[in-house]
Symmetry: C2
Subunit: 204 residues, 2 copies
């Protein structure tokens, strides 16, 4: 019989955070109780506090790990053409939010906690996603100016809300996934570049 593997405290802590991230896929942060985690991990509530000083610390680490996973999964593949990098990242983003809906809502809205540090993780994640676009403005044919910076940050929020809306329809999403992907990608030049002159002409 194989000996049971003894994990180092750091490895055990990482394992508990992983478990928390998995559990967060289908429940909000406030519903991720220390009791539920201890039960899933097969350890006592008391032992859990050997690895985390408080519920707040545990929640913060879970949100941090979620944010890291999101950023890793949506990292642009720099070997692709700029427009393909954008659509590939956005496609991975749709998949991530679909698979981790509740975790994502917790992350984006920072809603599950009045904790300043949780909100900071949300903000930093959004900033990193905006920066990925802002780094490549020239190859994307978009102007580098203060207006674009604000527009791109707004566009990240647009993508967040669009995917959450798409998933939260009363039944199955009414828009095909490919159309959602096109909506997200097209919205980037849509918000940064000038408005379609034909639309304004038709409206006047």
């Amino acid at each position: 019989m194989a000996k049971r593997v003894r994990l180092s405290p750091d490895a055990r802590r990482a394992q508990l955070i992983d478990l928390g991230v998995q559990m967060l896929a289908t429940r909000t942060l406030e519903d991720l109780s220390v009791e539920a985690l201890a039960e899933q991990a097969g350890i006592s509530r008391g032992l859990l506090f050997h690895y985390f000083r408080s519920k707040q610390e545990f929640h913060l680490e879970v949100i941090r790990a979620s944010a890291r996973e999101l950023l890793e999964r949506t990292a642009p593949d720099e070997s692709l053409a700029p427009l393909d990098q954008l659509t590939t990242s956005l496609s991975a983003f749709i998949d991530y939010v679909t698979e981790n809906h509740d975790a994502y809502v917790s992350l984006v809205r920072g809603a599950a906690s009045g904790d300043e540090t949780v909100r900071q993780v949300s903000d930093e994640t959004r900033t990193e996603m905006a920066n990925r676009v802002l780094k490549h403005l020239d190859v994307l044919g978009l102007p580098a100016d203060p207006r674009t910076e604000i527009a791109v940050r707004g566009w990240v929020a647009f993508c967040e809300e669009a995917v959450i809306s798409w998933l939260s329809g009363p039944d199955a999403p009414v828009l095909p996934r490919a159309d959602l992907l096109a909506l997200l990608a097209d919205a980037l030049p849509g918000v940064v570049l000038n408005v379609d002159p034909q639309w304004l002409a038709d409206l006047s």
Copy 2:
């Protein structure tokens, strides 16, 4: 000497909620303590709980009143042309967020509370803002379909984040207010209509 006016319990409660909304302009919901409110109102902490069953109930009422104020101040003037309704509403929106920054962040992100009902108020406010546009799609020259519904909800989130970004620069906002207003208004057709074919042609 004039007699001191005795307010009815309902009027007193409304006055306390108003005071809470004012205090929220410059602090987040979690920093809006019952102690600070009682002090501002010149009443005891105990008396405050005569009007609100709990801190949660008080916070919920303050957020509700903030949401109502936002929606009232940005209500479209139906006597104007559709495009003017849009820009007038957006202009009022920029002013509201500028004057009530912290209250607005609390409202939008629902960040200050893990409370489900607070989050509901945030969601309903966003839905109402989206519906104002969705009601007028025909006169705005925009197609009425599932893609537009998702795009308009995303656009509301875009506007929220763009104004918050605009305000949170290290110094004074670098973009003139008129340009921010144009950015928000132009982003609506920008996300709903198809991408500028010239941009795609230049990029390919």
